[in-house]
Point group: C2
Chain length 389, copies 2
């Protein structure tokens, strides 16, 4: 099977940018990804593009893929918009990987964008809500914070997870994001502040919730022949997994985990020929603090129910046994929905190549990204390894 490499990846700043558009943000990410390719990259090699966006705001709701690829000059390229709610560009990366593996194209682009901060609270709730299960959750008034609050509540009841353990996710990710110049909320927060945040949906408070952000990200993947011509710091897509599950949380067999994450991880590990113990670091989908704790368990980093103690003993800190969300994660770096998946790829790419600046952790060889759609109706897990196959 053809091996696939990330040869360039970059993101725009994440934040609130009234002076930017979805096109200008995507252009920044695209140009950064092209610049990140080591060699002299001929952009016309890009034959296939996958663009993830939920289409928040309804700006260019149809043909939103071609609308951005034309803007960066990729005229005529085969371009597909993919959507899996917040897992849109994780899905884009998987599809770009499959396209290159198919042998039909040598180089493919995966990326995503979202502009979310120019709307009223009402509008934001609508556009976030459309990824929830419509008939029984959204129409009943349930928000994403509400759905994840149910999971947090169940995790606390079932496994004894504590308020402090949830807040440690925020403290860690803000500390990491404070070192990331692209972060939306690039400030540190104390454990006291995180525990005393304004209530949002009990037991979740403001510090348990990621922001809504504007931003874009792009990754360029290529087969080994092209990659060998262009890079001496290869980052290989060693495994890719994707799964779905019931869109409505109320229809799933568990409240304390995300079955789609588990299934996607199994596939990715199997394809990469590794297990969770081999993962040196990960970017996981921490839309809410509880989501990061569940990810530890679903990805096999710790045993079911033990995520609270796992973060408490510092395992996922930058100097811990397996750093998680070195970028700041969705919590601090931000969550421009369609951009989030390939934005995770950007961090893994940089860490594996030793290009993560002030937040670089040395000696990392195997990374993972984990991107979840909705409350778990979809999940994509990707395993990356530094070096040639």
């Amino acid at each position: 099977m053809t091996e696939v490499y990330v040869i360039g990846a970059s993101q725009s700043d994440y934040g609130a940018f009234p002076e930017e558009s979805y096109r200008s943000l995507f252009t920044t990410a695209y140009e950064g990804a092209v610049d990140a390719v080591d060699g002299d990259f001929d952009e016309s090699l890009i034959e296939e593009a996958y663009v993830g966006t939920l289409g928040v705001g309804g700006r260019q709701l149809g043909l939103s893929g071609p609308a951005v690829t034309e803007h960066v000059g990729l005229h005529g390229v085969s371009c597909t918009r993919v959507e899996n709610a917040c897992a849109a560009s994780g899905t884009a990366l998987r599809q770009a990987t499959l396209a290159v593996k198919s042998g039909v194209v040598d180089v493919a682009l995966a990326g995503g964008f979202e502009v979310m901060t120019d709307m009223s609270g009402e509008q934001t709730r609508y556009w976030l809500g459309v990824s929830g299960e419509t008939e029984w959750e959204r129409m009943a008034g349930t928000t994403f914070a509400g759905v994840y609050a149910q999971m947090a509540d169940a995790h606390m009841a079932e496994h004894g997870t504590t308020r402090e353990q949830l807040s440690r996710v925020a403290v860690k990710n803000h500390a990491n994001g404070a070192k990331n110049p692209h972060a939306h909320l690039g400030f540190e927060c104390s454990l006291e502040d995180a525990m005393a945040g304004t209530p949002v949906a009990d037991p979740l408070n403001l510090y348990d919730c990621c922001p809504t952000s504007d931003g874009a990200s792009v990754a360029i993947v290529a087969n080994e022949e092209v990659a060998r011509e262009l890079t001496e710091s290869p980052v290989r897509v060693a495994g890719t997994g994707q799964a779905s599950a019931r869109v409505g949380l109320f229809q799933r067999p568990t409240l304390t985990g995300v079955p789609a994450s588990r299934k996607a991880a199994e596939q990715a590990y199997e394809q990469a020929g590794i297990g969770p113990d081999d993962v040196d670091f990960a970017e996981v989908h921490d839309c809410f603090s509880i989501a990061e704790l569940m990810a530890y368990e679903d990805l096999g980093f710790c045993a079911p129910g033990e995520a609270g103690s796992y973060i408490e003993r510092g395992a996922t800190e930058p100097d811990g046994e397996r750093p998680v969300n070195l970028s700041g994660g969705l919590k601090s770096k931000g969550h421009p929905i369609g951009a989030t998946g390939t934005g995770q790829t950007v961090e893994v790419f940089k860490q594996l190549r030793g290009e993560a600046g002030g937040r670089q952790v040395d000696g990392l060889e195997t990374g993972l990204s984990h991107n979840v759609g909705g409350s778990g109706g979809a999940a994509v897990v990707t395993v990356y390894e530094g070096g040639w196959a």
Copy 2:
């Protein structure tokens, strides 16, 4: 490179069905596709699914892929919603083909759906409009009929195409659709009626425009190993091409053709190792009469500018040299946006297997489907051949 076969394909009726939902329509199409597989098909073989929809009406706008695959019992399957406006499920078929060619999965599903008839005229205009170029076309009040009217006007001025030649598209496709039990507008129309239709956007009248429809369609594709176990009437995906172009018509180099169709066709022909002369029959994207005439030229069935005389001499009639839209096309069979692409696959599949009932044309060996998004911002062309590779 792995060969890919369509092993089952089916569609719901197209029409206005107030008693149906997007889920029930998709279920009908899915169950029909499973039933269409010759052998005893184990549905758990489906590992990857691509669902095309524009999301008209905003029902389950996010995660609309998993929302239908869960409903048919494909729990946990990797499912991606793809969107390329009216080319959504043509895109789905291409992605399913690439997924099987990648070797990562053996069997994949491609399908699509749309429910469009339960809205007011205002709402319908909004939801169709979102696939147009937003800032300079939609916001200026241009509709799709208006955009295609500009193309028709230019084609008439540049190539002498006549009112009668446009109307012959409607007459032919309605005659074909009258033999299709799934057709939305399954009645015949006379040339006189078609020429005297109520004006919509000059020079296009009502008979030049396809309806908006409810409907769903599904195709199941597999690698050769699986296909050989399950079928003795193989339909091979011999070539697949996809391209984009400027989303706004006003930014393209020509008004009298669709550059994305030409590029997608070139790719599909090259991959199949054939030329346009080898195509025995085709399902083309006749959202408006002029679109079918331009397709003849863009796909190489006749020389540029000669589509009018090509239809006039009966070349694309069922008994002509190259039948086009034997199903009735978008004009008569209907156009439930997300369903249209794989709906075309259904007709090609049936004709190549001799299963098209009263509209069967004998001796067909090579078919083509042509699916366009918006006014040509995206296009997908697929070449199919009966028999093993």
